[in-house]
Amino acid sequence: MSSYRLPKGGRIDRAKPLDFTFDGKPMQGFAGDTLASALLANGRQLVGRSFKYHRPRGILTAGAAEPNALVTIGEGGRTEANTRATLVELYRGLTAKSQNRWPSVDFDLGAVNSLLSPFLGAGFYYKTFMWPAAFWEKVYEPIIRKAAGLGRATYQPDPDTYEKCWAHCDLLVIGAGPAGLAAALTAGRAGARVILADEGFEPGGSLLSETAPVGGKSATDLLTKTLAELADLPNVRIFSRTTVFGWYDGNVFGAVESVQKNTATVDPNRPVERIWRIAAREAILASGAEERPLVFGGNDIPGVMMAGAMRSYLNRQAIAPGKSTVLFTNDASGYATAADLEAAGLDVAAIVDSRPDAARTWSGKARILAGTVVDANGGKNLKDVTVLNNGRTETIEADALGMSGGWSPIIHLACHRGAKPVWSDAKAAFLAPEKQEGLTIAGAAAGIGSVEACLADGAGKAVSVLQTLGFSNATAAFAAAADTATISKPLWRIHGSKGKAFVDYQNDVHLKDLGLAVNEGYGHVELAKRYTTNGMATDQGKLSNINAIGILAEARKVSPADVGTTTFRPFYTPLSFGALTGASKGKHFQPVRKSPLHDWAKKNGAVFVETGLWYRSSWFPKSGETTWRESVDREVLNVRKNAGICDVSTLGKIEIFGKDAAEFLNRVYCNAFLKLPVSKARYGLMLREDGMIYDDGTTSRLSETHFFMTTTTAYAAGVMNHLEFCAQALWPDLDVQFSSSTDQWAQIAVAGPKSRLILQTLVDEDISDAAFPFLGAKEVSLCGGKLTGRLFRISFSGELAYELAVPAGYGEAVADAIMEAGAPHGICPYGVEALGVMRIEKGHVTHSEINGTVIPSDLGFAKMVSTTKPDFIGKAMLSREGMTADDRLSLVGVKPLDPATTFKTGSHILSDGAVPSLDNDQGYVSSSCYSPNLGSTIGLALVKHGPTRHGEHVTVWNDLKNEYTKAVLCSPVFFDPENGKLHG
């Protein structure tokens, strides 16, 4: 193994070597490595290129904030761009590729941008690329767009699965560092239902890389012991590899668990990622703190790393950052790293401490320079650093530079619901309110520094939270401890640098960009963000925002408190579409709803069509028929000549009970229902309160206090909600109840001159016209009392027709029986297409006409609007001027002058010879079809002054298809206007 991997130490399992590749090159790491640590172990520091200038970039952090080490992992449909190497748990067979470079990460032509950087300052594109105007889309934008983005996504579908779950707990603890562990242990011992979530693949947070004793004992032992006790508590669940990504109202937290992101051989029985919606009574945020980079020239050269990250790689994965390391620190953290490096036998060339007054108790070998690193030098890797020490410049050779500018509490989640962070001079950091309803912040996230104090804080805060939850027995799992950490004055930028000093690494925002933003009037923190793109990269400013704020504050000569932060938003870290989607994808995007006659229809050869969630039978092709029109024409002609059977089970069906049911219906329909006799059906129009028609359908009275309503398929759910609203919210004193019976009944339309003949063979009662006239509705006995059904004499086709409802489980048997009984009479099954043709022939409207902007009179239903009822939904608004105006679009029929010509739904109507213009627009074709009975295309149209224009010649204008058809407006009833067949 390389010289970067130390021969011993760390939490890696050297017995489990793992092969992987980077840019095609085979490499090896161990179980316990992240991709980042494994790359470092293989001596690979340069792993990516920055967005704008294509600067060579190395691994900067060891966690979620990583801006540089973004790689593409996986192959084919598993390709994942922009993946942070620092969070990828290494696995055997992992393939990783560098990004945003051509031809290679080591030699990238895009790097010429760096030379042009004076011209490419913040917002340069707003000021140019404007001339000539046509060039933007043709020349400039394509070039800019080509340069856009970092990684390349795949177009292939994802072979893996995802899922979404709910979890419930008394206490959610976010972060399993010392503070979180202490909180979880305290709550677990008290018997609360606890969920402890941590994004790492090992719980422990900073304890995993802590070498100093904690409360006199080893940090590792403390961790092991605590985890063992937690594991034994049945009321505690530990979610590892689980990132809490958002805090939502109602104290619901969104979290994503990576279930199988650590393997190349995915088990298809398990998801790769799983979303948890955690409903927590209370939560403790123990997310720790983020170390701040320092802003000096060349602070992005591979080899420059956060001091804490260096320490973490050293202690967790036994990685040496380099041969000779310099630490540049504004905080105690640099010393801890230096100490651990020296303890591992590594050379620390110097510790550069920017704090003039820092009280140091350094007992190591490395010399200390009071001053700053002004420039890090090198190309693709660090060669040396220039230190300014008491006015003296010194160059120190080093291939690794650790930096620490102090710590920023990770308060992201605490601000998702509107809380604004407040600058604390004492902590030199932005803090979120320590206690909000449902959420308490603990540990480093609350600005606490020492491990002992974090343990105490987590435990103590858990106790008080538990008390509010009623666990009065809770006692802190760790004793109180004072915070021994010191806070330094922040160092926002280093003066005197020659090289570019980066603030937002990924987006290449450097010091000067922020200065420019202030000069140009974009000094507000939000404007600066938008103008320079600082903080808008995949790390969302986890590292950069605080320094940008400090720099803006200096430039504007105000305190960071006056600058404030930009808004923290979900997601804490980027979240895959796949996880958010869960199992609802592909064919499972929405559930399927099947009619009880689905299999009957299938067996009869139906072609299905998606209608909302339902599949409905569209038409039933017979062998020899090559186009759908052939089948539909045949079905229509056959129904009109003999008989047909159609599945109408998808219509909404509602049982309405109660002694006030009639009164209720009288109020929800615009026509009268109060006196509907028992055993009768009536067509009803339901309006919205604004007077527009909402839905239509028939309602039958089965007894004094029991009605049966049908609605359209599409509006079934809406009507049910509406009825319940009227009953519960508007008229709670009416005695009326509703039960949806859509799925209870298989509903079968039997239509055509022979329909009575056929049905009579099944129905035990007499259904002659005299015994069962048009609009009859009653319970019937079938097949000698074998079954009870409901029979309605209603007709959408205009034929003598019935709808028979039977319990769904018997639907198929009854449909088969009807087919059998009808066979001698030439019965055929017909689908919704034929149904559509017949209803257009009869001028019957559907939601093609009832489109939410029509009132009853528009459709010729003026007479249905009761003038005598004191009240019904929609009554009051119908008298407005615009509702009575005579230029409203109203229903007419339309047919081509030459039956050999045709037109389509959606075509507009123009007066004969009129110039096409919106002003001349007379209306549009709302429904159309070919009528085999008329031998012509026919249509229903909504046209200005429609009913007065029968006989007028018009142009049916479909410019989209270059189809301009001469046509005549006519009555919307094309077929059997006298309704002779209906009553037949």
Binding site: W166, Y248, D249, G250, N251, V252, R277, A279, R417, G418, E437, E689, D690, A717, N721, E724, F725, Q728, A729, L730, P732, P870, D871, K875, A876, M877, S879, R880
Partner: protein, 90 residues
């Protein structure tokens, strides 16, 4: 708001189970209340910043219409009652 709504009949349930309709402070006028009253009922809204009552239907649960009183800025829920008995708080 409303990741969870505590239905007085069913307990806390996610927003997906509900259908929201809108302002519950408006009262349906008498049939003869006149054009202005009806126009106001159908079209005009207080749209308050702060406390607001609105109708939610527990569509995938008990199928009751509820009146949810909450803050439109903070989304804190103050009370949830059944629409038929708006006096009671669960």
């Amino acid at each position: 708001m409303a990741s969870l709504i505590a239905c007085p009949h069913c307990g806390p349930r996610p927003k997906e189970e509900f259908t929201v309709k809108g302002d519950a402070a408006i009262v349906r006028p008498a049939p003869d209340a006149g054009e202005d009253a009806w126009y106001a009922y159908v079209y005009l809204r207080d749209n308050p910043r702060g406390r607001h009552k609105e109708y939610w239907h527990h569509t995938s649960g008990c199928r009751r219409w509820l009146v949810v009183e909450r803050d439109t800025m903070t989304h804190i829920v103050y009370a949830i009652t059944d629409a038929s008995a708006p006096g009671e708080t669960a």
